[in-house]
């Protein structure tokens, strides 16, 4: 472990990202567009009635929380891992007495700070205009924190192991695009997973994608019974365990291969 180096990296990454804050603000804006569209679609469709138990105000609350959670769990660093491997930049990282994972984590932390500087005020303004309806209980609030942390870890390491395929294939990041599409469909973006049609709902419940995004939103907005909450946590922790195994295996075999074929 090299915590000193890790912290220094976070600070410097943050400094260099602040040089381009408007670019990152634009990215953050781009990422909030799809959930924002569905916010308007569903809240308009609900009108004065409810759809699947959601009122207009509840749809607004669900999507505003989802916009924030999406931003907090989305790992844009996954997209750069492949470039680092392909360009041979991995060489400089492997020469340091510190795992290259630190650099990626530093970008994650630095990125979240920059994005939140944009997202929190924007969401607050949207909340003032759109009147969300949400009753957060202490239990939901407390459960949300680990659900969010696990969701980030799951999304980050899932994307990371996919990105590490770049050790073998040149254009492995196509799989990251696929992951984004599956998150869009099955993680509660196009609709809250409770509203998905039969087979899709069942798939969403067992596949990892809902646990990267939709699950913490459902926890905070109070849509889940106690049993559903614990089942959700079990799936989330189980998928994280599997993902970490995949990540460690891919990392070890990948670096071994890299040092066999050269960067």
């Amino acid at each position: 472990m090299n915590q000193r180096g890790g912290w220094a990296l976070i600070k410097s990454t943050w400094l260099s990202w602040m040089q381009h804050r408007s670019f990152f603000f634009l990215l953050a804006f781009m990422w909030m567009i799809p959930p924002l569209i569905y916010l308007f679609v569903w809240s308009t469709a609900a009108g004065g009635k409810t759809i699947g138990g959601f009122s207009r105000g509840e749809f607004v609350a669900y999507y505003l929380v989802l916009i924030l959670v999406n931003q907090l769990t989305y790992s844009q660093t996954n997209w750069t891992v492949g470039d680092v491997i392909r360009s041979g930049q991995m060489n400089t990282l492997l020469l340091r007495p510190m795992s290259p994972l630190y650099g990626t984590l530093a970008s994650e932390v630095a990125g979240k700070v920059v994005y939140m500087a944009f997202m929190i005020p924007v969401t607050a303004v949207l909340a003032l205009v759109l009147h969300p309806e949400m009753h957060v209980t202490l239990q939901n609030g407390l459960a949300f924190v680990p659900a969010l942390g696990l969701a980030w870890a799951l999304r980050f390491f899932w994307g990371y192991w996919l990105a590490l395929l770049a050790f073998w294939a040149t254009r492995a990041d196509a799989l990251l695009g696929l992951q984004d599409s599956l998150v869009f469909l099955l993680a509660g973006q196009v609709a809250p997973t409770a509203l998905l049609p039969g087979l899709m709902r069942q798939a969403a419940a067992v596949l990892p994608f809902r646990y990267m995004l939709g699950f913490p939103v459902e926890v905070l907005t109070g849509q889940l019974s106690t049993v559903e909450l614990w089942t959700g946590f079990t799936f989330q922790a189980g998928w994280l365990f599997v993902t970490l195994l995949l990540f460690v295996t891919m990392w070890r075999t990948g670096v071994k291969r890299y040092s066999a074929v050269g960067g």
Partner: protein
């Protein structure tokens, strides 16, 4: 007696590269069945390096220099053979080992692009656990040696290649490595910047006694910095020793340059046996003669020809090296 820091024994590296015939049909076949061929980048290379030595690794493109350097720095696993650097096996990449070496790559940067170099240096200081006071002392020394005070606070993206390379050197030396690998550190730099960096490396080696292995295509780098060269060609070690000896061994001849006075320019001069004309232009002649015959031929020339000027020289080292690259043998 100096301590042996690098021991390389029968080191070999074979790459397996995918290959296929040209054309659409072959491209479809390769989808189903990929064919590979083995490329032997390094074959049975052995040598040792003592503490504080500066060794030049020379050889044509694709000779296996960078592959060897990458194995010694731990980036590549060898196919066969052993190497120990500072007592450790490089490709185990233990943090304790990486802490004591450094590699400066002329074509890769470890600077953070958007922030001033001073920030990157501080990050590296933290990564390598250099105490703040020590970091400041080292930085001051390196910055002074490289005359780069004014660069410290400008973003790296605005730097010229030479300015960036200065930063790469500082970044690579902040943690006081015991062994420094330099892969084409002067690549693409102008003549005066090359000279400056060479002077810096020589001075740094003198002060810190760091062991350096340098690859470069610029002969001047090797001539100025490295009393010892290791010559690699097609993956094999062809020569290991003093650069001057290499020239003697490889080029057992001398060049005699002479200028003749004007009246005999029109006619072909009569030359003694054993002197071959390499160049002839406007009364100026360059002759190639066997080393042992140089004195007698010189005397003969002075006696028989109207010599205005005469010089006996060793062939330029570039020509010697070119000859090896072409012929692949010493």
């Amino acid at each position: 007696m100096a301590e042996t820091q690098i021991v390389v024994h029968n080191l070999s590296k074979t790459y397996r590269v995918p290959g296929r015939e040209p054309g659409l049909a072959a491209s479809f076949r390769s989808l189903v069945r990929r064919t590979y061929r083995d490329v032997e980048a390094v074959r049975d290379v052995s040598f040792t390096v003592e503490a504080g030595e500066m060794v030049g690794f020379i050889g044509p493109n694709g000779a296996g220099k960078t592959t060897t350097l990458k194995m010694l720095s731990g980036l590549l696993h060898p196919t066969a053979g052993q190497a120990r650097v500072l007592g450790g096996v490089p490709w185990e990449r233990k943090p304790d080992y990486l802490q004591r070496i450094s590699m400066v790559l002329g074509n890769k940067s470890q600077m953070l692009w958007d922030i001033p170099p001073l920030d990157t240096f501080h990050v590296l200081g933290e990564i390598y656990h250099v105490a703040p006071a020590e970091l400041k002392r080292t930085l001051d020394e390196l910055v002074e040696l490289l005359e780069m005070q004014e660069l410290l606070t400008k973003p790296v993206r605005n730097f010229s290649l030479g300015e960036r390379m200065k930063c790469e050197f500082v970044a690579g030396l902040l943690h006081h490595p015991r062994v420094l690998f330099l892969d084409e550190p002067t690549l693409g730099l102008d003549v005066s910047m090359q000279g400056r960096l060479r002077r810096f490396l020589a001075e740094y080696n003198r002060r810190s006694d760091v062991t350096m292995i340098l690859t470069s295509h610029y002969v001047a780098d090797v001539v100025t910095l490295c009393p010892r060269v290791i010559l690699i060609h097609r993956g094999r070690l062809l020569y290991d020793g003093e650069l001057s000896r290499l020239a003697e061994r490889l080029a057992p001849f001398k060049l005699i340059r002479l200028a003749l006075s004007n009246e005999r320019v029109e006619n072909e001069p009569e030359l003694p046996p054993g002197a071959d004309i390499v160049e002839q232009e406007n009364g100026r002649l360059t002759l190639r003669v066997a080393r042992s015959a140089a004195p007698s031929i010189t005397a003969h020339l002075l006696n028989t020809l109207p010599v205005a000027d005469l010089a006996v020289e060793d062939p330029p080292i570039e020509a010697v090296i070119d000859q090896i690259y072409q012929e692949g043998d010493v």
